[in-house]
Structures are given as C-alpha cells and as structure tokens.
Symmetry: C2
Subunit: 121 residues, 2 copies
Amino acid sequence: MSDVARENHGDLIASDRIEGTTVYNRQGERLGHISNFMVDKRSGQVRYAVLSFGGFLGIGNDHYPLPWSMLSYDTDKGGYVVDLARDILDQAPRHLPEERPDYDDAYGRSVFHYYGLIYPW
Amino acid sequence: MSDVARENHGDLIASDRIEGTTVYNRQGERLGHISNFMVDKRSGQVRYAVLSFGGFLGIGNDHYPLPWSMLSYDTDKGGYVVDLARDILDQAPRHLPEERPDYDDAYGRSVFHYYGLIYPW
C-alpha cells in the first residue's frame, strides 16, 4: 500500500460517532464530551466542536465552541485531546445547550482569539 | 457589512441538524434523509453524506454514501437537493444501516466514479 493510501485508509469518522465522544486535556482530565459540531454549509469544513462541560448528568452544563484544529484524536484513550487547562474554560465563550450563537465573524473571532488562534476566514 | 462578513454570517450548520434532513432530487422527489455523514478526522473536511433511502419507516432501508459536493441546501425546501434521478440509486454503492464500509481508497474511488466525479484524494 502506498503512503497516500495508508494515510487515507480508515481516516474517516462518522458524524454520530464524533457526537458524544469524550474530551480530555493533556493532563488526562476528562473535560466533557462533544455535544455536536458546526460545519460550513458550502465547503463542508468542520469549524467548531461544541464541548459540553459542567453541570450534573448533562443538566445545567454549558456548551463551549472549540476551533476544530484544537482537537486531536487519541486512539488509546478513545477520545479527543485538547491542550486546555480546566480553568481556561472559566472565562471561555459559552452558551446554554438550548441556545445557538449566530457564529458570525465577530463571534468566530472572539472564540479563536480567546484560545490564542488566528481566525482564518 | 462587507461581502466577506456577509458570506460567513450564518454559514454554519450544526451536525445534528444535518442528520435527519430530507434529501430531494431536482425533480422535487423526496429521496430519503441524511442518516449521518463521514468526516476526515485530521482535516475536518466532510467527505460523504450518507443517504438513507428505501424500506418502510426506516426498516429495511439502505445507506448510500454521496460525495458531499453533490449536495446543495435549498432553504425553500428546507432540505438538500441532489442532481440524481431515483433509478440512478438502483446500482449505486450502498450498505446496510448496521454496516459501515471501510472507506478506503478503493471504496472512495468506486463511489466517486459511480456518480461521475473525480476522486480528489
């Protein structure tokens, strides 16, 4: 098998498998799980994973949009890993589960800026 | 608002809103709905929408991976539109709901080739 073929093989994941996947930080702490993720309608590019964090049994938790590039999948853990100390989330952009932000440019910039990333659109 | 801002505003859709969305063809026939979609783990690029079609009340239906670029969203219809006559699906690559193909290069090529598209990876 060529390198290209190897790179592509099994490199896809189903949307409903991403949803619900546990998210850890580099310290191995469980931060929460991915509730859903935001996709650019036209290009099909995933822009944000929405981290569900806090609350108890999913009640009263908050949703935190994370730029997709922050997440890497750890096959050993069976979950996503982000380089994110828990207390960084204290001031992070969030919304209630039943709310959906507009995801306009201003919002996108504020999210990327919060995590020290350049907003690329 | 600049053109760029206008282009980006509201241009994102939540993964769980894509799932379940009705798919029509250009003749206005309801083909089925999107059961889920396949995402490139690394790049976050959506590659296939999986069309659930046939059967009765979701029982006995088949799943058809469609290259994402085939779909366009029609706000009037509130669903996706594909340029696809129903009988094209007769011979199209499909799998049972409980099966998940490997989505390796050979499979990807066969899907793209079936719909007359160039496999870009």
